[in-house]
């Protein structure tokens, strides 16, 4: 009970994602074909700042693309690189120790010994020469060459040198050089992805929620309910750390070793390889398809990661020591996800080098993976995974067995395949070798602009958030004009009050929904296709949100009756809007509104009515990056008099969407037009949820905190009734 209450209280409240202030390729991968990671050493601080100032407009943020760009640019810095930019000592010292030390100094902890020892690393990688990583990705080699040439000219002109120029290219079918599809398992992030089993965070009701954004970005609520710590002002918000490693893959040695071991163990070679990885080569997981690869599962994004090992505690399907199970044990360590949820990372790697032809002998070519992982805390996340789960086996209950790929000191060690009897692949062979790497800080777009300016003040002399000169802000495209102010955050007091209120109301919602076998409020509704047309020139309040980004968005809406009272009785009606790709692919934004009337005091109250052609409002305040807002929908196009909304006859009904800031008047920002009613099957799929805030508009305040808890309780009650039958 205490644990349940603690989890409820610590339940992270999504503070939203602001795509315009976050660098790209983190929350959503670019999936471009080729890349050129360029490790750069700056000239003088002033030259470096001028360089950053020049390239700022080229840097790619996480904003939604209208069309995929032909090339992208992103920038990250080493600690000595920040010093080279003359960042004040106070600020430099505020970065965590692991980042300050750098990857080379942490080699023994990471297990980079023997052939992976830093003394064997490539020139310029982890040698202390690199100040920054300029990574260009492109659709093809020609575009990459063009972008690299352009950047090289700027670098040369401004006194910078490239200390290591790498070149990556995706292999066909997203495979790496050992033949496995790579990058399949990624955390589902709160507010941007739909949470699926095994991919986010387990809540007190055993429902999977998205991983709090603070696990990756600084300044947001993390899985422990705290604001994730990053560097000090002025770099506190929306930055992240990047662990970049060049990992050589000895494809010939891997093939030879697995063939030999399979023969020795009298085992199918493909099965042995799958046991080592935890997935078949097509990506289908052993946890779901232990006997053979299943392309249908591999290609189904709803199923390919829908497992958590709770039903395979002994590793009979997926060995305890398999690579993917060690790197992300899900519920496999017991205690639900308590022992693994703080170690999630987002991986955006890319292969390099030509593939070794099937059956070919070793050609001596350099090939492998550029491992790139993003996280809020290098020591807690990446280093813990590498040191305690990959190099050592005790943490994942396999004794001395290291990870068969990225584990350290493999010589003489074994890989255990549980069974009766178990099988041991031994001795292991080192087929992956570290060839260099860096710990990097990926600043927000705003921090990047600040680094390009000459006036970064240390914390001790200039407390508070340093504002970027307005002239410079204009050069950051896209950007936000202000960071989160106090009015756009739910305060700790509101959070506690909302939690207490939610805990009180949750049993009521649970009981009603369990009895009704449907949601406690708005249990039945009619779902329609819709189109949201966002108008240009909206108020600045909506910058960096879906309602501030002009364009046409496919949407789904649901019209419902709040208390499911008889059809001829007045009821509070609901209008729920879901925009699936509001903030980019998969970043969904939902608005939940109800019919309202305006009281004499000017405040709104729920209205019982018999009409859908009326005024709907979010009632509770919402937050954009710039401030608080209330969203309303006003019907503008009457339906035919005999049309029955609840029988799917509302096609053509339209609403103007308005945004109102506290103390301000409403601005019409979009038009919502209903299409056809969806079939029962299609209409059953959407689950409208205020926690979907991928379009940059989040919930705010006490009642919203309570509402989330009540909704979850309602969901749980319904699920309990369904289980009972």
């Amino acid at each position: 009970m205490i644990r349940a209450l603690r989890k409820l209280i610590q339940r992270p409240v999504s503070e939203g994602v602001f795509p315009g202030d976050i660098q790209g390729n983190i929350l959503q991968g670019y999936n471009l074909a080729v890349s050129a990671p360029l490790f750069v050493r700056f000239g003088s601080p002033s030259e470096a700042r001028t360089l950053l100032d020049e390239v700022l407009p080229l840097v790619t943020s996480a904003r939604r693309w209208n069309a995929k760009p032909t090339s992208t640019l992103n920038i990250a810095f080493t600690h000595i690189g920040l010093a080279a930019l003359a960042v004040p000592a106070d600020v430099l010292d505020s970065f965590p120790k692991a980042f300050r030390d750098g990857m080379r100094a942490r080699a023994s902890l990471l297990g980079d010994v023997g052939r992976s020892d830093p003394q064997h690393w490539d020139v310029g990688l982890g040698t202390g020469e690199a100040h920054a990583l300029f990574e260009i990705q492109a659709v093809d080699d020609a575009e990459l060459d063009r972008a690299v040439t352009n950047l090289r000219q700027r670098l040369t002109h401004l006194g910078a040198t490239i200390v290591s120029a790498q070149r990556g290219a995706r292999l066909p079918d997203r495979k790496e050089h050992f033949g496995f599809v790579d990058g399949v398992g990624q955390p589902a992030m709160q507010g941007t992805d739909d949470a699926r089993r095994g991919q986010g965070q387990l809540d007190v009701f055993h429902q999977w929620l998205g991983l709090p954004i603070g696990e990756i970005f600084h300044g947001h609520v993390d899985a422990d309910g705290h604001s994730s710590p990053g560097p000090s002002e002025p770099f506190t918000l929306n930055g992240t750390f990047l662990v970049w490693r060049k990992l050589y893959e000895d494809a010939a040695a891997f093939r030879s070793w697995t063939a030999g071991q399979a023969a020795q163990l009298d085992m199918d070679e493909e099965l042995l390889r799958a046991k080592l990885v935890g997935r078949w080569s097509d990506g289908s997981p052993l946890a779901l398809t232990p006997d053979r690869p299943d392309p249908a599962t591999a290609n189904d994004r709803d199923r390919v990661n829908a497992f958590d090992y709770s039903d395979d505690p002994d590793g009979l399907r997926c060995p305890l020591g398999a690579h993917i199970r060690r790197a992300n044990p899900r519920l496999g360590l017991g205690f639900d996800d308590e022992l693994s949820v703080r170690q999630r990372i987002i991986r955006r790697g890319m292969t390099y080098g030509e593939a070794l032809a099937a059956g070919a002998a070793d050609d001596g070519a350099d090939r492998g993976i550029f491992f790139a992982a993003y996280m809020a805390d290098i020591e807690r996340q990446y280093e813990f995974i590498q040191a305690h789960w990959c190099n050592d086996g005790d943490g994942v209950n396999v004794g001395h067995d290291p990870d068969p790929f990225v584990g350290s000191a493999l010589e003489g060690r074994k890989f255990t395949i549980p069974g009766s009897p178990p099988k041991f692949a031994s001795p292991l062979a080192q087929t992956v070798v570290t060839k260099g790497g860096e710990y990097l800080w990926v600043p927000s777009m705003q921090s990047l602009a600040l680094l390009a300016s000459a006036t970064i003040s240390p914390l001790s002399t200039r407390p508070g958030h340093t504002k970027i000169p307005r002239k410079r802000m204009k050069s950051v495209r896209p950007t936000i004009r202000r960071t989160l102010s106090s009015s756009t955050r739910t305060s700790p007091t509101e959070r506690v009050a909302g939690t207490l209120l939610g805990v009180v109301l949750a049993p009521v919602a649970f009981t009603i929904s369990a009895i009704r076998s449907a949601a406690a409020v708005h249990p039945y509704g009619t779902v329609y296709d819709a189109e949201l047309e966002v108008h240009p020139d909206g108020p600045a309040l909506l910058d960096n949100t879906v309602l501030g980004s002009p364009g046409s968005y496919p949407a789904t809406i649901r019209l419902s009756r709040g208390f499911a009272l008889p059809r001829r009785t007045d009821d509070v009606h609901g209008l729920a809007v879901s925009i699936p790709d509001a903030g980019g692919p998969g970043r969904r934004q939902d608005f939940l509104m109800a019919t309202v009337k305006t009281k004499a005091s000017g405040k709104e109250a729920s209205l019982r009515t018999d009409r859908y052609e009326t005024l709907f409002s979010s009632l509770l305040r919402l937050a954009t990056p710039q401030g608080a807002v209330v969203i309303r929908a006003v019907s503008v196009q009457p339906m035919p008099p005999d049309a029955d909304v609840e029988r799917g006859q509302a096609a053509g009904l339209a609403y103007d969407i308005t945004a109102t800031s506290p103390g301000g008047g409403p601005s019409t920002v979009a038009r919502l037009t209903l299409g056809n009613a969806l079939s029962d099957e299609a209409g059953a799929a959407p689950s409208f949820n205020v926690e979907h805030d991928g379009g940059g508009i989040t919930t705010l305040g006490t009642l919203n905190v309570a509402r989330k808890i009540v909704y979850r309780a309602s969901h749980r009650g319904r699920a309990a009734r369904h289980r009972k039958g």
Partner: protein
């Protein structure tokens, strides 16, 4: 009887970095605690005076200490005075190099009563391991031995496996 021993000594202002470096240099290869009979685990910690790092949870960030402190803490199953005597013997000259950074250090000869005076009595002791270091090491060696046996005998028929097991583990 397993008990917890915590000894908190004030470090002379300005000596904490040197002390921290010395302790770190002595604990890389072989911990002296491992050679003290009755030790389950043990550690030296130099506690900072500044409020805890901003990377720590907010609830831990307030406050600070007037001086840096050296904490010697251990879980043991021998009487504290006896254990401290053994620790001083194992540390040898290093004991002086550690506690001489602390205010009031009387020297190795009178160290045990001085250390016991600074003992902070615990309210509750929780021992993660019920075995001391010697037994833990023995258990780990046995695990390695079993692992080697399992690998070297995989595929053997049951009768052969039994014979090999007896010949290996009866030694």
């Amino acid at each position: 009887m397993i008990s917890h021993l915590s000894i908190l000594s004030a470090v002379v202002d300005g000596h904490d970095d040197e002390l921290r470096s010395f302790i770190a240099s002595r604990s890389v290869e072989h911990s002296p605690f491992a050679s003290v009979p009755g030790t389950h685990n043990g550690r030296f910690t130099v506690v900072r005076t500044d409020p805890l790092s901003r990377t720590d949870p907010p609830s831990l960030r307030s406050g600070g200490l007037p001086h840096p402190m050296l904490m010697c803490s251990a879980v043991i199953d021998t009487p504290p005075a006896e254990w401290l005597g053994d620790l001083l013997r194992v540390l040898g000259p290093d004991a002086d190099r550690i506690w001489s950074h602390c205010a009031g250090w009387p020297g190795p000869e009178s160290a045990v009563p001085w250390l016991l005076q600074q003992r902070v009595k615990p309210w509750l002791t929780f021992a993660t391991w019920k075995a001391d270091v010697t037994r833990m090491k023995g258990a780990l060696e046995l695990r390695e031995q079993i692992e080697r046996f399992a690998v070297s005998t995989q595929g053997l028929a049951a009768a052969d496996l039994l014979t090999r097991f007896r010949s290996t583990f009866r030694k």
